[in-house]
Amino acid sequence: MSGHLFALVDVNNFYVSCERVFDPGLEGRPVVVLSNNDGCVVARSAEAKALGIRTGAPWFKLAPLAEQQGLVARSSNYELYGDMSARAMEVIGRFGAWQEIYSIDESFLGLPDGDATAAVEAARTVREAVRRHVGLPVCVGVASSKTLAKFANHVAKNNPGFGGVCSLGSMPAEQLRRLQERLPATEVWGVGRRSGEKLEGLGISTVADLRDADPAWIRRKFSVVLQRTVLELNGTPCIPPIDERADAHQIMFSRSFSQPVGSAAEMREVMAVYAQSAASRLASRGLRASVVTAFAGTSRFAAGPASNPTVSVPLAAPTDDPIEIVRAAVNALGGRVAPDAAYARAGVVLSGLTPAGAPLQQELDLFSALAADHDSPAGAACPDEAPQLSEVLGRVKSRFGQTSIGLGRGGLSEPAAWSMRRQFSSPKFTTEWKDLPLVRG
């Protein structure tokens, strides 16, 4: 036996499916989920797809027809999706020799390479378990490489006859050939539109064409990345696991504003909030950061001056301390915020990540740390045995809720004017006590 098979488990229409778990009345209706600030469509139910609604369609164009079409819109409810994702990923992980979470709604899973029937059986078990535990529908593709597992998943998702599970190993060769001849090469994982056009020009238009291309020639004409894709399509696994890839080396928190941010003072508030969110992601991954980067940008479409400052601040030592990170982010942009510019977006990036290891030894002084930035009248030092501030913040948040405590603007429960517009948001069903789903007794 050659070791493992690759399964790709993918939640169908993830955002919409999360909404439906707690609002079963949405089942069978066309539903879309909108991007930040309710701008455009980011997720569609099958019924919404059938109405011809495209991903990226601006909501203001759909809204006038929504009532007539019975179309339901929801704002992105990241708290709900994040919690449901964590639940689904944990369930999926229970069935594999290894698990690699690829995105909020996709996970690779290592299945034992037994006979083909066993692989289909395992995939069905995963599908049933996620449905039963979390209430989410998933499709599973199983094959001998990640790229092929993605392909199998695509087949399972688009051909209802497969019952949500497709294992290439148990598929007759003739059927596989027909499927690969029908699907364009651009549907292959990792083949972008530009490569697709170039491939087309060289006579490679379907998945089957790409599979049969000479890997060495592909490397010369394109890149080692596309060569790997060809090898993977032939069943040779060669795509490295996710934590070895470059994008695992930074944490970013960025958003677009519902209203432009103009003043330096407002921008400091934004940075305080975003840096705290980035810092809590950092802590939850057990990492410390060496560099804090703050950036802001005006909209390309706005009148007025363009301004896109990005400033990186190295930290004295790698840290996961939210105070240090917030202070660095708040001060980073400093004089770079143009007084007459209308900023449309901003973000904080933490990089130079290292594992946190042992807890920090330095004693933190809550009041003097804040006094340095905010002229706080309380200059008194904490007792030596005071727990670390970051730990206290974390504990208070988990006990009293996300908005109960924070640094600077991040501590206010009333959202600031620039915070995201989420007009059609469902409640935070699984993360906020006041938002629990209602059930009729």
Binding site: H133, E385, L438, V439, R440
Partner: protein, 133 residues
């Protein structure tokens, strides 16, 4: 001398924390309700009840209930079910045709079993009611 380690060895020099408690050796954390009420965090959900039709089963208006999705529903269980697109809490009964949902107490004049046109789907099994006294 049996407790000399305790008296001297573990006191940190700059901390004025008082005497180490002799109970410290026996303390390994308080009661963690999550551990007892949420056997599997992937499949356990908390919901809030509106209405009193299950009051005799100890589930009143405003109570929070703990719902296990992964548990197999059996006749006699209190369940959350989807009826006409809505979540309701009811007792599950067998009535010879697969199943039926029952309120508890039965509202005056209502049939004992709530027969659902188009059927119903069990969402999860209710394991606890958190009733405020």
């Amino acid at each position: 001398m049996e407790s000399s380690d305790h008296a001297a060895g573990t006191v940190r020099p700059k901390a004025a924390t008082g005497f180490a408690s002799p109970a410290g050796d026996y303390y390994d954390g308080g009661i963690d309700l999550n551990r007892h009420l949420i056997p599997d965090r992937t499949s356990t959900f908390v919901m809030r009840v509106t209405g009193d039709s299950m009051a005799a089963s100890g589930i009143s208006d405003g109570d929070e209930i703990i719902v296990e999705r992964a548990r197999t529903p059996r006749p006699g269980n209190v369940v959350v079910a989807v009826v006409g697109g809505e979540l309701v809490v009811r007792r599950l009964r067998h009535d010879g045709e697969g199943g039926a949902l029952e309120t508890d107490p039965l509202p005056p004049g209502e049939p004992a079993l709530e027969r659902i046109a188009g059927g119903f789907v069990v969402w999860g099994v209710v394991t606890r009611s958190l009733h405020r006294l």
